[in-house]
Assembly symmetry: C2
Homo-oligomer: 269 residues x 2
């Protein structure tokens, strides 16, 4: 049976996550309903990353097998007309036989946006976590380096169900960047004028995390973000990280950052 | 009486515009209610730009006079706690005696964001108008040049009420830029793979308009944007612009672009 790959972006704000869940609005339900209308039959789909409620995606990937080859242009247009503006089909393309978006993935990349200005950009409130304290992004960058490699992430997994919590993190980094709406000079001026915080070292509006791993356990990215922010606030030292890994206990970590700052960025096959 | 200046950013999505209007939610009402609570008395405010329903602001300015000098740090903290996340007070600062945010302004600057990708970024759907056709941003840049200078903007004003419609545009430009969330290489790849449009000349995700004038009549920016987009779509030539100005007739223009792409960017004094 011909296999296809759908690349998907979505604003997760109004959804109870990707995966179907009776009685609540989900991405999967809306996508499969649109596909059933376009294809004239129910078609099961497989997704690369089952994002939680409120989590967004830029580079989500879905695979499906159909009985007959598709008219890709017609399917693309119909899906665009039925979905959106919250769910956007970036492309529909033929895939190799048996392509499986979940088990075929060799790595997933997530990004997380933090806005640590005293006056955060209200136009990014759906996609950035506002932390009301200036963060030491250099210390956070050091923390990110400690996440790289093969580790047991039990302290950072919400549920393990007896399965392995060992994951291989290929890269992890924190950096500052302008928020894309506001010129850098404006940011610095706004921060310098604010009487309630010392933002002298702030050269960008957002603090951004990017992490790539072979796979992630539940709430792993948000737990690593929460830990990093505690370090950025000066409440925890980078040197404490190895002990938190060794504890293999979720209570040793620092909870989970809110979902709305998280974006599934890219999946590699 | 001591004068103060408040710099304000807001997401206009959930508001019926800036100005007070009985029975509907407005920025002015929420700001003045918060001020009354903090100051213990009603204080009238003056605003630089009375934005329409759905229009956003990054650099809105409000002035007020109070009977006694304010504890700026306390007022800033209290306003931040009561307003937000949709309304963000960027700063509260002393102003020169008699400072008037409206009549003291020498220029206002607006930005307008258009997303012309076949698959627009769903995370920017609140702040960018999705135009489902590749735009010729070079032709739009030529159109912008034709807006600069002192002109009668009657064809681009929703209501004139017999008052002058002559305005002085100090600068106007269209350009392409990455959308701040998506790396440039991703944008080009996504566009190239899309079967329904030729985006070979697209090197950025958003098409951005910036215009500065001494003042604007009602819906002037959105009318100039709508005209520019018609030119970018190839439905109108740049050479038609002088005739549209000369008509002094709103029906000669091309309507108004939707409010959600518009941001009051900056006010100069």
């Amino acid at each position: 049976m011909p296999s296809y790959r759908i690349d998907l972006a979505y604003d997760g704000t109004g959804f109870h996550g990707y995966a179907r869940n009776d009685g609540v609005r989900t991405i999967q339900e809306e996508l499969e309903r649109a596909l059933a209308t376009v294809l004239g039959t129910d078609v099961p789909t497989v997704v690369a990353g089952r994002t939680d409620a409120g989590v967004h995606a830029w580079g989500q990937v879905v695979s499906l097998e159909v009985a007959e080859g598709l008219d890709i242009e017609r399917v693309s247009r119909s899906l665009a007309a039925m979905l959106g503006p919250e769910i956007v089909v970036r492309s529909v393309a033929p895939a190799s036989d048996g392509f499986d978006a979940r088990f075929g993935a060799v790595s997933r990349t997530y990004r997380y946006f933090v806005d640590d200005r005293p006056a955060p950009n209200p136009l990014h409130r759906h996609i950035a976590w506002h932390v009301d304290a200036p963060l030491d992004s250099t210390a956070m960058e050091e923390a990110a380096a400690a996440f790289v490699g093969e580790h047991d992430f039990a302290s950072f997994c919400r549920t393990a169900d007896g399965r392995t919590t060992i994951r291989r993190v290929l890269s992890a980094a924190w950096w500052r960047e302008a928020d894309g709406l506001v010129p850098r000079a404006e940011l610095v001026a706004a921060s310098a004028n604010h009487p309630t915080a010392n933002y002298a070292d702030v050269d960008g509006g957002l603090v951004v995390f990017e992490i790539t791993a072979n796979a992630f356990c539940h709430q792993m990215v948000r737990s690593l973000v929460a830990l990093s922010v505690e370090i950025g606030r000066g409440r925890l030292r980078v040197g404490a990280i190895p002990g938190i890994f060794e504890a293999r206990d979720r209570n040793a970590a620092r909870g989970a950052a809110p979902p709305h700052g998280l974006i599934l960025w890219k999946v590699e096959y």
